[in-house]
């Protein structure tokens, strides 16, 4: 088998399976063959990620993590799944039954919809939409509604408080998330994810043309990942479900498999935003060096995805949680001005002649305001004197 055959193997299989279907049902069968792998692969990745995350956090916190089920505890997700399926599904008596039931379903459905426009390999995308990036952010906004439904229908102060925190945070960070991706749309001149990846899949010497290797692309990538962390409600932005403050936040009144669905939806959202970051900035399925193009394209997508997931786990184990006012100040006083400035820099980059001057000008244009904005966040803060401890004697 040649490398091209291995690269196209899933497409070849799909066409082979499709040839057995009668002509009348072929469009439906083709759609099914595109959707079912997505429904199978990403929940599997979720299962693997839970055990990797618990192992990684355990390593950071100097303990073992799960180590009872299977070799090195790697069958832990199966035990978790059996546990959540056999647990009693408790619904509070005063809860709004219908909305309470629909919220996890809407969350998971919205999370899965986002995968429709992610190209996981060469010619491997469920739907190549003309406005693909717009579709991604549109279905992402459905998650907020699901979170509200869960928090409100539970009739619990903690869950309502968690939902309010989550919605306020998601709305605030959705603005920088969208604005950070605008630079790529400007550079590619297209909203189609397939076109954006194709534009990055060429090489100068051995080096790829990924957007992250430009000043505006690098800044855009960093801002995008910060906003993605906040969108996924992950540490250090995990106020909506901060366990020491409001227990589990908006899904406190969910048990059994509905609780697992919330977990699934949250991780699927994280994978989808990471996949979008890969598509926009890290070249999608393109290989990192020109001499590695013989490796199948889908391998590179999932390798990059796993690297970003490892980054998420590392950040979660390292950084403490932000306070609410710090969270909002950071979104509106740092992230938003930086993304707007980045759009300007991307425009300047486009109209300047290629060379080192362009690099220098753009780097200064980004670096100086970022330092000033960071100093502005510090301004007006009272100097806190060293705390004196008083003990009962």
């Amino acid at each position: 088998m040649t490398p091209e055959t291995i690269d196209r193997i899933f497409i070849i299989w799909k066409h082979w399976l499709l040839s057995y279907a009668p002509a009348g049902v072929q469009p439906l069968f083709s759609a099914l063959l595109s959707v079912v792998p997505v429904l199978a692969v990403f929940p599997l990745l979720f299962a693997i990620t839970t055990v990797l995350e618990r192992k990684g956090l355990g390593r950071i916190q100097n303990r073992y993590g799960p180590n009872r089920v299977g070799p090195y505890g790697f069958f832990q997700p199966i035990a978790d799944g059996v546990k959540s399926l056999t647990k009693e599904d408790v619904v509070p008596r005063t809860a709004d039954q219908v909305v309470h039931f629909l919220a996890p379903l809407l969350l998971v459905a919205a999370a899965f919809l986002a995968y429709a426009v992610l190209p996981v390999g060469r010619n491997m995308v469920v739907a190549n939409l003309n406005a693909g990036v717009l579709f991604f952010f549109a279905v992402g906004s459905l998650v907020e509604l699901a979170v509200f439904m869960a928090g409100w229908s539970s009739r619990n102060k903690y869950s309502l408080l968690g939902a309010m925190r989550a919605i306020a945070q998601m709305i605030s960070y959705e603005v920088p998330l969208v604005l950070a991706s605008v630079v790529v749309i400007m550079a590619a001149g297209s909203l189609s994810t397939v076109t954006i990846v194709n534009m990055q899949a060429s090489y100068t010497g051995i080096w790829p043309h990924w957007f992250v290797f430009t000043p505006w692309g690098f800044v855009g990538f960093v801002l995008f990942m910060i906003a993605a962390t906040a969108e996924a409600n992950r540490s250090p932005f995990d106020l909506p479900e901060g366990e020491s403050e409001i227990v589990a936040g908006y899904y406190i009144e969910y048990s059994g498999f509905k609780f697992a669905l919330f977990f699934l939806g949250e991780y699927l959202g994280m994978f989808a935003t990471s996949g979008m970051a890969i598509t926009l900035f890290l070249g999608g399925w393109a290989a990192p060096f020109s001499f590695l193009t013989w490796v199948p394209s889908y391998f590179w997508f999932f390798a990059k995805l796993l690297v970003l997931i490892a980054g998420f786990i590392w950040v979660r184990g390292t950084l403490p949680r932000l306070r609410m006012d710090q969270l909002m100040n950071f979104a509106w006083k740092f992230m938003l001005p930086m993304t707007l400035l980045n759009i300007f820099v991307a425009g300047a980059w486009h109209f300047m002649a290629a060379g080192s001057v362009r690099w220098l000008v753009c780097a200064v244009l980004i670096f100086a305001p970022s330092v000033l904005l960071a100093l502005g966040l510090e301004k007006g803060k009272k100097k806190i004197a060293a705390r004196t401890y008083r003990f009962a004697e």
Binding site: V99, N130, A131, F137, A138, I171
Partner: protein, 166 residues
């Protein structure tokens, strides 16, 4: 009149009707969101991708959440006390019927001339951007200015100055 159109139309109408008839305000908003989503699906069925996704992004994502916040912050979200049908429902029904009759008449009249039009070419997002940035740039800027003024006004109303605190 294809089957997907009929399903989407029924969904949209059911959602908007439920938004008027349900007793709980939050349920009303959730039903209205269903109507918005159905409308977005209808746009998508007409191959208007940009309008369809913007409908979801703005109405389902932002307007519904805004309405929910407004209700939660201004009044209790319990069921209303007054009946679903207002006392003047006959007059209201007459006005609604008249408006519907005029609209239906206008659409019915235009349908005969519409059938002779060639099928519309697919409008790409790029063309919409070109139109907004070239031909309609002045209306766009005026809309932006108007929205900014509204935003500043809202902040001014919401900002409470407390002189006794200083």
């Amino acid at each position: 009149m294809t089957i997907p159109f009929l399903i989407l139309a029924a969904l949209t109408i059911a959602g908007i009707a439920a938004a008027m008839y349900l007793r709980n305000l939050v349920h009303c908003i959730l039903a209205l969101t269903l109507g918005f989503a159905g409308l977005a699906a209808l746009y998508l069925q007409l191959d208007a991708q940009f309008v369809g996704f913007t409908q979801i992004l703005v109405y389902v994502g932002a307007v519904a959440i805004l309405a929910v916040f407004a209700i939660m912050m201004t009044r209790s979200a319990g069921p209303m006390a007054q009946p679903v049908f207002s006392s003047s429902w006959i007059k209201g029904g007459c006005v609604a019927g008249a408006v519907f009759a005029v609209l239906a008449w206008a659409i019915d009249r235009s349908a005969t001339s519409l059938e002779m039009l060639p099928p519309q070419p697919e409008v790409a997002v790029r063309q919409i951007g070109d139109a907004l940035m070239r031909r309609f740039v002045l209306p766009l800027e005026i809309m932006g200015l108007l929205l900014t003024a509204a935003l500043i006004g809202a902040v001014l109303i919401a900002m409470q100055e407390k002189p006794e605190m200083q």
